[in-house]
Structure formats: C-alpha cells, structure tokens
Symmetry: C3
C-alpha cells in the first residue's frame, strides 16, 4: 500500500492503517494466519496504539524527550539531511509488525490499532509492504 505523508510538524503524521490491513486480510481469502506489515524505508515506523488524539501527542512527547531533534547527530554532520533523529527514532520503534488473524479477523484488542508513524522531516510518499501467510 502507498500513501503520502507530511513531515514532522507540531504533531507527528500518524496514520491508522488498521482498516487497510484488515481489508487486505479479508481479500486474501485466508482464514487463519499472520500478516506482516513492513515499512520500506528507514525513517518511518509501525506500532500498535489506542489511536486517539491524546496518545498521538504523548507519543511525540516521548520521542522528543528520548531522541531530540535539537542535539547533534553524526548522520547530519556527514549527510546534511537534518533527519538523524528520524532514523534513530525509526530504529528504536521498529519497521516491522506481525499481527495474527483468526476467522479472517485481526487479533487486536478493542482499543488497539495499527499505526504508521512518519518520522521524517519532510513530506514523503510511503510504501508499506503487507505479506499475508496462513490457510
């Protein structure tokens, strides 16, 4: 699946992709198995989260605290991309997420969604790869 994102602003561009993943599972015709979602790129990440406005702010606050933008990064000194923190945040959160499904339904909790998190500093066209395996 592909979509466009905005870069880092006052908020993170965080996207609820649960519906897209659920639809891909249904379309596969498989009943039970796993779906792996993967970010093809090194400045975006995936996480499960209760997708509501408060936690989106809290997620950004946590990343700002742990991997601040305004400290020196050797990556930026070498490449002048200004996105060293984006790379490190992505490695910390992870680019791969595997979710089981049963009877064609994702095994998520009631208040649990799958989120793509844009961590780069400028607009991007994103490609997520979904691989579904089961029977």
């Amino acid at each position: 699946m592909q979509f466009s994102t905005l870069g880092e602003r006052d908020s993170l561009d965080t996207r609820d992709i649960t519906g897209d993943v659920a639809e891909a599972v249904r379309a596969s015709g498989l009943s039970d198995g796993i779906v792996t979602v993967f970010v093809a790129g090194s400045t975006g990440a995936l996480a499960t989260v209760e997708f509501e406005g408060g936690l989106k702010k809290d997620l950004k606050a946590m990343l700002d605290r742990l991997v601040p933008r305004a400290i020196p990064y050797a990556h930026d000194e070498a490449w002048h991309d200004g996105n060293g923190h984006s790379h490190i945040r992505a490695s910390l959160l992870g680019a791969s997420l595997t979710v089981p499904f049963n009877d064609k339904r994702l095994a998520l909790g009631t208040w649990q969604q799958i989120a793509f998190i844009e961590l780069d500093v400028h607009s991007r066209k994103r490609e997520l790869v979904l691989q579904i395996i089961g029977e």
Copy 2:
C-alpha cells in the same frame, strides 16, 4: 492463552511465558517454523529477556526513567485513565514477538526467555494470541 495480572506496583508484573509458548509449539505437531505471540490490548508488551529478579527491577527502572508515570499525558487529560504512560511504554516495547522453532524447539538462547510485561495500573485479564506456522 489467558491469565490474570496485577497492575503496576513497586514492581512490574512480568511473566515468563516461555513454557506456555514451547508447549503450544509441541502441541501443534509442526517441526520447523515460527510462532508469533501477540498481546491483544494496548497496555501490555512482550520482550525477550534473561528472566531473573535483577533484570525485572532494571526493566522497571528503565521504563520509569524513559516514560515516567508522574509527568502529564494528554491521554490522561482526555480520558482520566491514569495510564497514559502504560500506553506509551507498550508502544515503545511492542505487542508482537515472532520466534523461530526447529525440531519442535524454540530457537532461544540458554539464558533467554519470553516475557509478558503488564504495564497497566490496575489488575487485568490478559489475552495473548499464539499463531504457529510451519511444516
């Protein structure tokens, strides 16, 4: 698999689920493959760890340091759950873990266990989903 947990106290309610996962793999009759363990819920997490008392304390100390309970969370302001930090900790550690097995045995190191980590502030009934794929 289902079990009950205590909420956050002086220690985290951390559970060694290696035996349960290993037994599910044996019961599947499969010889080689992967098992995905997934927390259906947004305030619990999974990790591999040498499961001993010292590291359980160190894991809690790390989470207290990186994602403190006693700072404001937008989630708590909106929902008054008092568990904003639980959600953020869960997204950071991750709700999904995939472990290979060969000859019906999990490919874990000698001092490596699979742990469920309760991050919520009150007692919970937890549901972990195990999906085993192989041949």
Copy 3:
C-alpha cells in the same frame, strides 16, 4: 548463521547482515514470503537502519543516553557480569525482526539495511536463526 563479535568499545560492533539474509532467501527457492531473523541470546539485538558510519555513532549515543552503562543495575549486583545495561538495551531494541520478500527480493527501502547490534561487553560468538516461510 554464526559469527564472532567484539564487545562494547568506543563504538558498537554493528554488522550489516542484509547480504546474508538476502542470500538465504535466494537459496530457499521460495519466491514470496517472510524471513524471520532471531538473535539466540539476550544481549544482542536487530534493527533496520541506513547502515552508514554516522548513524552507527548516533545509535550508540542514543543507547548511552537512554540506558547508560555507568548507573547501578540489580542484575550486576546479583551476577557481577557488568552487562546489566546490555540486557536492558537488548530488550528495548528487540531480538526478532521479520522482513517480507517478493520475487525472491527483500522488501527493503533503498537506504535500509538489516543490522545486528552487539550490546554485550565482551567478545561473543553469535548465532542468528533465520526462518524462511513462503511459496
């Protein structure tokens, strides 16, 4: 796959294993599926990263900041290994990584590699388990 690593020094011993994983996928004869890479051990981790010198330094700086070596660890008090921080870093980053492949090629971004990160304090012989599933 097995290899030897150095322990923690001024830099982390970080290894680009993308080529090895890609070769294992090709050798499997499978066209489409997923490969799970797993560290059999509790003081090493996996991540996707743009594998270049700057980010290797930035990754170490992040870990030094979030999980410092020079603070007390209950693990070290009990076991005197001096690697409590190595264990906690490993649980934080994760020992398992699942990557899709299509037409026998890993679905990585152009600047995205798979890295093993040695987090222990002394030289190790490492074993990574690769499990490939698909059709």
